[in-house]
Symmetry: C2
Subunit: 615 residues, 2 copies
């Protein structure tokens, strides 16, 4: 079999003739960027064949010299040496750790999903010789009423442990399906059991270690992106590959474990200190994490297998915390409104607030919740990951070097995250860019490039008209950073999907934008979203600006609340059941609303009076 060597990683594997370089690279553990699940349409997996010959499948991309798309180049009989350029390298291995405000020393609180109680039991005597388990439960019930359960393994260890610690055990408890589960009985120990809170996003994961004095959060890319940028590609991968589900599950678990490792290093703690991993993500990610096929989510009528998962044994799922620890998955609401939204509703307290609120979560998908303490409805809009940079030619995630603000001052002026050389454009950058292009008359209200000129601001590119945001000479990626007509169309579709969906949801309960007390935009845009520009492009409605809030990652915030307060964990399950899901795909008004919102800011300018007045 031919041997394929990948540079600069210098990893070699044998591969059958006919294997694509992309597949070979994956097996060699070399991660190559690819956003179209190997269909040859995203053009991101460009590699250079330095030695040997490959068979090139045809496709839309014309590449020079030894350059090929890894997904369209098949190994033949000869050995190969393949070079993966920087721009094509998937950086999923990297975990970014950033500082947060230090958690209190007495954290997690005693209401957390996992807690430790130090007890003093009366030793057994002839007058009082109930069994050891009953003796323990009796002491526990004096401190916290309720039902207590234990695994057969714990029952096996119990009597020895109680005697070893002289009947003064430290008892680790977790919130279970019927009362509390006794996870561990051992010597009393002043250390609090720690928990890991994780937002499992389609594009990236973000985690915090809930430990005394913890000062860090960590994020990493979702390794599954090599099988496609959105949940639909991942579901199809599961459908088309027998081991697809196992592989995707292993990847997301691997990502969680990598985040954990980074956070434990900073906190100088060990895996055995962590007794629970509490997670939220969209419905498909929750299915994948639990190893449940997400197949049916993709097919009408889009019903998943299970939205309320019980507490799971973390070890059985490969989560590398304490061997007795638990994996908690917050509940989903429907096939396309996931646990991340339940968590967001918990974090923003929509259900506990008499004010009328709307939460718009623009992640890889887009979900909207509308409600108050009297009712809640939600819907999902297929916004796509345009604002996460995933589908645009020069798009990038909110990472160092990402352009996060753009303004016009005799030319486009950009600022990047961390002031690094620009590598691409992230969500907040695209909001500004759209607003600037419109204001400067580069695009019309339909987002179409206007005729005339052929300079940086408007030129003919490979895919039609495009605008150069940063020329190659000033960029950090040795190529022009551009926004193309296709990019703009995608962004407009995304914001139109969201705005249109929000309008339908409002109409369905007989309300208008002006009835809303709070309009909250959640997501990972970068910190510097420009509120005026968000209104100008019609992503946010034209209402009093103080009603608009950017609330950040409400999924992770909700996970932390549920992890640190058993009552909130119970509450989020109630909330998830109380929210009425509203199916947009069958709603007669939705397409019309969507089309009307595919303008800058909107076809109905009366809905955007301040924008109209400004132009």
């Amino acid at each position: 079999m031919p041997r394929i060597n990948f540079q600069p990683a210098d990893r070699t594997i044998e591969a059958e003739p006919g294997t694509s370089l992309l597949d070979a690279a994956r097996r060699a553990g070399v991660r190559i960027r690819n956003d179209c699940a190997g269909k040859g349409v995203c053009g991101r997996c460009v590699v250079e064949v330095k030695k040997g010959n490959v068979h090139r499948l045809g496709g839309r991309f014309e590449l020079k010299g030894g350059q090929v798309l890894a997904c369209r180049a098949l190994a033949l009989e000869s050995d190969l040496e393949v070079f993966v350029p920087v721009a094509s390298r998937e950086v999923t291995e990297d975990v970014s750790v950033f500082e947060i405000e230090a958690l209190p020393d007495r954290f997690p609180p005693s209401e957390a999903l996992v807690k430790r109680l130090d007890l003093e039991l009366d030793p057994p005597s002839l007058e009082d010789n109930v069994c050891d388990f009953d003796r323990l439960c009796r002491a526990l019930q004096k401190r916290r009423s309720g039902n207590y359960t234990a695994s057969p393994q714990l029952l096996r260890e119990l009597s020895g442990e109680l005697r070893d610690c002289g009947w003064r055990p430290g008892v680790t408890l977790s919130a279970g399906e019927c009362g509390s589960e006794i996870l561990h009985v051992g010597r009393a120990d002043s250390r609090r059991p720690c928990l890991l809170a994780v937002d499992v996003g389609t594009t990236s994961l973000k985690a915090e270690l809930l430990a005394p004095g913890s000062r860090h959060a960590a994020s990493c890319y979702n390794s599954q992106v090599i099988y496609g940028p959105d949940v639909i590609s991942r579901i199809m991968y599961c459908q088309q590959n027998d081991d697809g589900l196992d592989r995707l599950q292993g990847m997301v678990v691997g990502d969680i474990n990598r985040l954990l490792t980074s956070l434990l290093e900073r906190a100088e703690l060990s895996r055995s200190d962590v007794w629970a991993c509490v997670t939220a993500g969209n419905t498909t990610m929750m299915h994948l994490l639990a190893g449940i096929s997400p197949l049916w989510i993709r097919r009408e009528p889009y019903a998943g297998s299970c939205y309320h998962l019980p507490p799971l044994d973390a070890a059985a799922f490969g989560i590398d915390i304490n061997a007795k620890g638990k994996l908690y998955c917050l509940p989903s609401i429907s096939g396309f409104v996931g646990a991340d939204i339940s968590a967001g509703v918990l974090a923003t307290d929509i259900a506990g607030d008499p004010r009328l609120s709307m939460l718009i979560d623009l992640g890889t998908n887009g979900e909207i919740v509308l409600g108050s303490d009297e009712f809640m409805v939600c819907c999902s809009a297929s916004a796509g990951p345009a604002f996460e940079g995933e589908t645009s030619v020069s798009g990038t995630r909110a990472m160092p070097g990402a352009i996060e603000t753009v303004r016009y001052d005799r030319g486009l002026k950009c600022s990047t995250i961390g002031d690094k050389p620009p590598v691409g454009i992230c969500g907040s950058g695209y909001i500004d860019l759209l607003a600037v292009l419109m204001e400067e008359g580069i695009v019309n209200k339909s987002g179409k490039f206007l005729d005339g000129g052929d300079g940086c601001m408007r030129r003919s590119g490979e895919d039609g008209c495009e605008c150069v945001v940063v020329p190659a000479s000033m960029s950090g990626v040795e190529r022009d950073i551009v926004i193309t007509q296709a990019d703009i169309d995608n962004l407009l579709r995304a914001k139109a999907a969201l705005y249109g969906a929000a309008n339908v949801l409002l109409e369905s309960v007989g309300m208008e934008w002006t009835d809303l007390d709070r309009i909250m935009l959640a997501g990972a845009f970068g910190d510097k979203i420009n509120k005026e520009n968000a209104v100008k492009i019609g992503l946010m409605p034209d209402v009093e600006r103080d009603r608009i809030e950017f609330v950040g990652n409400t999924s992770l915030q909700g996970v932390i609340r549920a992890a640190t307060d058993e009552k909130d964990y119970g509450l989020v399950h109630e909330l998830a059941k109380d929210i009425t899901y509203f199916e947009l795909s069958t709603h007669p008004d939705y397409m019309q609303q969507f089309m009307a919102a595919k303008f800058l800011p909107h076809t109905k300018t009366e809905q955007f009076p301040t924008v109209a007045a400004g132009t």
Copy 2:
């Protein structure tokens, strides 16, 4: 290493010099009778060394020629050939199957611990697209309110199964810790899930297959008897051997599986038809079955690890029923009053009856429950297995050839179970024999052989005075069947322990024998217990005879009730908690009562007026 060949099984193993022949035989899978856990005192493991030399440890038995006690003979450097005579062979491999009244065709009932419901679900639609698990629970709740849980494995299979069966699933449910657990979802199937009910005795196990039309029960010896006849020997074996607990657990599980195999053959069913194994036994046996160390039961204050075990996954414990099936252990009451007694209380309905009842369970140990619908107390008496034949020279279990009745008509006249040649004496035979020996003036009221004569009825044996019940020429075991002074002393100690304990229990609640409406004797004596003789020897009190009942194996009866009615399963857990355990070992009156009862029938003859009048 020397090779040891065992005949007639013709099994050979290598063993280190210094290994006892008993240990070597066990490892070779050759089962040799041994009732003293290898201490060299029971004299049952006699084998013949045909070739090679062994080192003989000293001991109380003088053996001729090549005969040695397997436990006291150690391998040296040479190869050995060892013959195991019939009398020394442990017959634990045998399963006895006997006919019972056929169970109804519609059995087990729909209230059983495992049940199947055939459902019709509304397929999901855009208007009703809750997740598949909620859809299933909604349909279940229409049929039976309550909480429903499922394992991660079931959740993985659920969506596929529901679609495969066209949304008309057969759902198998088991009674769980919090509501019902959904064990299986598949095509609707008219077959009812079957259950296996097992009484796990120290000496033998008895099982019934609860299946439509089932007509058989099965019993076998508890394979653990090779490590000693009583629970104390087994606990010590666990303490002295690192793998002791695992080994004993494997043995009892193996026994259950053997019983199951025999019953399935008769019923023409397969393992996958059996969804639950429901068990009761003494507290130590329940610990061993669940793989929990029984160590602390033996040490003052005799508290076990856990008396109320949750429903367990049968497969994880090696129980060879359906891979998704459950193992239920009924609850114990104290270290020496086990689940067999809880089951007995359920079966005899003591707690639901206004009459004052006493249940005396004379198994390998002896336990007593006294109570009514207003109160219940219980105690344990260390009666020992004398009435099970285990500690007597010619004792045997109630098996074909066991002497079950004895009368005097110019010599001892015996009848055996199945009219087979006599192989030994079982419990009901010993009751008769004691009565006859006393009536005929062979023994005095202290059970001591009286002087005079030297014939069959009274002669000098190896261990002092003894009486020949059946001479070797007429027996089925090529040796005299005898009752020795030591045997009689053991029997008297056993009945005195029980009667004394019953007296203390009565006194402790301010009552007398004559207050009792029902006195029930449970145990495996053989079917032909002579009520008059039981009173004559003071095993039963001298009350109106119609108040005395022989109730058989109430443990198995209770297991069947709990297995076939979820309410009774709940009830037995309540009962086990409601019974007040009375510790005899510290009671000031117990030793005096015990001593007073070590006579035939009793030192206080006024307690046995009809017996006194008869003599």
